[in-house]
């Protein structure tokens, strides 16, 4: 085990994949010489050459479109979108093309493509550096959607995604890049190097897509969450005296429903926690599935704690971002119901 930040773990995953498989190529805006604005691809161009890791023009459409073409050729492109907020110009290539190529060609052409993007808030990034667009991707048949919450998973999920025969969206919670964050923005963060979850296996391994992880076992409430919110959930659970079971979904689609159902059947209560805007957020789908699978085991209604239905604000960031206090209040409400 080595201590790594999430950035280092992601970089390492690229390195391992590129060394193992010549077909892996890495590109995106500022990804080549500079190694990406978050430095997730630093050193790869120097090591593997300019034709395997390179800068692209600022066209998310072009980046993903090139990736679809390359994947259909037989390469394994791994793309960085500089911020998830900038994926929209590429949505057509993702939704209409990458996601449907296998289906519409009956497997004649496939699209083993990985699209990574720094996601989520908590860095005072305002409207255009803070969004969590997972709901869009999970609505698209043909895509898989992943959001890691720690370095070990970030590396293992990325390696699994690169090997996956279908397109995978990886949403990287940028608030966790350098260290986890417990939702108390006024307190210092523990860097990954000193954090138990900063332990990363060296070399090659994968974390399978479609498998959740239980981060805390508990008996009274199940908390479903992912990404940065895992640590907010943990902070809330630690502070509020409700014995919560915390599930880190890791992969949003395909969803590990078995793990969820087992937990909710045990606890009888469920809280869903995400940063994204509430209405039609992925929390709605989680709520629907829990309701469908566990209706007669539910002892109280399911509660969502999410970002508000506003664009992501700048100055009011910490009023927008779901806080431990809001989670605690919801946990108490669940227990009272």
């Amino acid at each position: 085990m080595t201590q790594m930040t999430m950035i280092e773990a992601i970089r390492d995953a690229h390195d391992v994949a590129m060394a193992r498989d010549e077909r892996v190529v890495v590109f995106g805006e500022d990804v080549g010489y500079f190694g990406g604005v978050f430095r997730c691809t630093a050193g790869l161009q120097a090591k593997y050459g300019r034709t395997r890791c390179f800068d692209t023009p600022i066209s998310e459409l072009g980046i993903v479109g090139a990736g679809v073409g390359m994947a259909s050729y037989g390469l394994r492109p791994v793309i960085e979108i500089q911020f998830a907020d900038y994926v929209y110009p590429a949505i057509d290539q993702i939704v209409s093309e990458a996601a449907r190529l296998r289906y519409r060609s009956a497997g004649d052409f496939t699209c083993p493509l990985v699209i990574r993007m720094p996601t989520g808030g908590g860095i005072f990034g305002g409207q255009t550096h803070s969004q969590s667009p997972e709901a869009y991707f999970t609505h698209v048949a043909g895509l898989k959607t992943v959001m890691p919450s720690n370095p070990q998973d970030a590396k293992g999920l990325l390696l699994a995604a690169i090997e996956d025969p279908d397109p995978v969206i990886i949403l990287e919670p940028k608030r966790l890049y350098n260290g986890p964050f417990d939702g108390h923005h006024d307190k210092p963060i523990v860097p990954w190097k000193k954090h138990p979850q900063g332990d990363v296996d060296p070399g090659y391994y994968t974390v399978p897509l479609g498998k959740a992880a239980i981060r805390r076992t508990g008996s009274e409430v199940t908390i479903l969450s992912y990404g940065t919110m895992m640590y907010v959930a943990e902070a809330a659970a630690a502070e509020c005296g409700v014995d919560a079971e915390i599930i880190d979904l890791r992969t949003l689609l395909p969803l590990d429903l078995d793990t969820i159902v087992e937990s909710v059947k045990k606890t009888g209560r469920c809280l869903i926690l995400h940063e994204a805007t509430k209405t039609s957020g992925y929390g709605a789908e989680l709520m629907a599935q829990v309701q469908e699978a566990c209706f007669y085991h539910l002892e109280s209604q399911i509660i969502r704690v999410t970002g508000w239905d506003t664009p992501y604000p700048h100055a009011q960031e910490w009023d927008y971002f779901p806080s431990p206090a809001r989670v605690i209040a919801a946990l108490h409400q669940l227990m009272e119901d």
Binding site: L61, G69, G74, R104
Partner: protein, 411 residues
């Protein structure tokens, strides 16, 4: 609002000719066959800017092949080309009827544009990859893709290679170098550049071709393709098929006031040429030139094929609502099949009788395939793809939620 300045106004371009008007192509400047030089493939793009404003033509009004772009194809190859075009036209005519008979939901024909895809295909190698739109089935026909497979797809029957999932005519055949057609305009243009980049990254020798319609050049993917192709000197030939119309919208709406579609390449330093798209020899020759450029590592070429959509946009369209019925007949570049036939007759290797025989032979072949295919099934009748197929192939491995849905659906 200042008082001393004239008010602004919005200029909305209109075609010269709407229903009831007299077609008038007198503004359409057509260079003489043979008039355009054939530069070396490694010419400096800056030196051939004028090619984006001219038209490369080989067949003259007398049916002779003239000038530096002629002379590459043998009589046999030309007759084969004629056969491909006649096959495509006959196939289209039969399928349009089948559509009207309710045997399929939708059809798109190539009437008047057969030379573009048929001739182009013969300039490529078998393992090159084309990224076509819905109006380049000639790439399949000239590549000897089985007609019955096309029909099975059109009829969405149980032998449909795409399992009924995709619209008719949105073919896919990796084996025949034909990328899965999307239906979303433009997307495949950028993908062709990506595929070509992959070939270059891999040290391969295969090249890609991208295809887009005049109207669709306005789409973002067109721009992205030019940017990426130019930046990475991708081994790709980028084709614009300017058939003058985008459904009811004339090409002026996409082209702006002035210029040509080919000229769009200049901003990227991409050699850009226009070719008479109704001239089999010219298209073939230009395709050779451009694919040689790509294969030699010289990068992309942008080709505008100047042609005319003689039929409706699709089986859902009636063009008489928005353009003059006489416009097609007035189109000054003629009919590609007629022109090649005429050339072969001038060459002394063809006759009206041989042509009639060819037409009959092609028709027989198509009718035979059609019978076979219809015996399997047509949309909603006979053997259909299974509903189970609907759930398959969304991912390589079916995830649990889809298995559950499939079971819920009863399959």
């Amino acid at each position: 609002m200042s008082d001393d300045v004239a008010p602004l106004y919005l200029n909305v371009p209109e075609p010269g000719c709407r229903p009831g008007d007299e077609p008038d192509f007198s503004d359409f400047v057509i260079p003489k066959a043979g008039a355009v030089d054939r530069p070396a493939v490694d010419v400096n793009p800056d030196e051939i800017r004028d090619m984006a404003f001219s038209i490369i033509r080989v067949l003259n009004a007398e049916g002779e092949a003239v000038g530096p772009w002629s002379g590459e194809l043998s009589a046999d190859e030309l007759i084969e080309g004629l056969r491909h075009m006649v096959t495509l036209r006959t196939f289209d005519a039969r399928m349009m009827i089948a559509q009207r008979q309710g045997k399929t939901s939708f059809y798109i024909q190539h009437l008047g544009e057969e030379a573009v895809s048929c001739a182009f295909r013969k300039a490529l190698l078998d393992d090159d990859m084309n990224f076509p739109t819905y109006r380049q089935a000639g790439l399949l026909i000239a590549g000897d893709y089985p007609l019955i497979d096309m029909m099975n797809q059109i009829y969405s029957n149980s032998q449909d290679p795409l399992h009924g999932r995709q619209l008719p005519i949105m073919y896919s055949s990796k084996e025949h170098g034909f990328f899965s057609i999307s239906g979303n305009l433009g997307t495949q243009f950028m993908q062709s550049v990506g595929w070509a980049m992959a070939s270059a990254i891999s040290g391969d020798t295969r090249i890609a071709t991208g295809w887009i319609g005049d109207g669709s050049t306005a789409e973002s993917d067109f721009h992205a393709a030019l940017v990426f192709a130019s930046t990475y000197t991708a081994p790709v030939v980028l084709n614009i098929v300017n058939n003058q119309w985008a459904i009811s919208t004339f090409q002026g709406i996409a082209r702006g006031g002035v210029g040509t579609f080919a000229a769009r390449g200049h901003g990227f330093g991409i050699p850009s040429v226009r070719v008479d798209g109704n001239d089999y020899l010219a298209v073939h020759s230009v395709a050779r030139w451009a694919s040689e450029r790509a294969r030699s590592g010289l990068g992309p070429t942008l080709i505008e094929h100047v042609t005319y959509r003689a039929g409706g946009h699709s089986s859902s369209d009636d063009p008489s609502a928005y353009r003059s019925k006489e416009e097609g007949a007035a189109w000054p570049l003629g009919d590609p099949i007629e022109r090649l036939k005429q050339h072969l007759i001038v060459l002394g290797v063809w006759s009206d009788q041989q042509h009639a025989d060819l037409e009959q032979e092609v028709l027989d072949k198509i009718v035979k395939a059609q019978k076979e295919s219809e015996a399997i099934g047509t949309l909603g009748a006979g053997a259909m793809p299974s509903p189970r197929d609907m759930f398959e192939g969304v991912y390589e491995e079916m995830p649990p939620h889809l298995v559950k849905q499939r079971q819920e659906a009863g399959y």
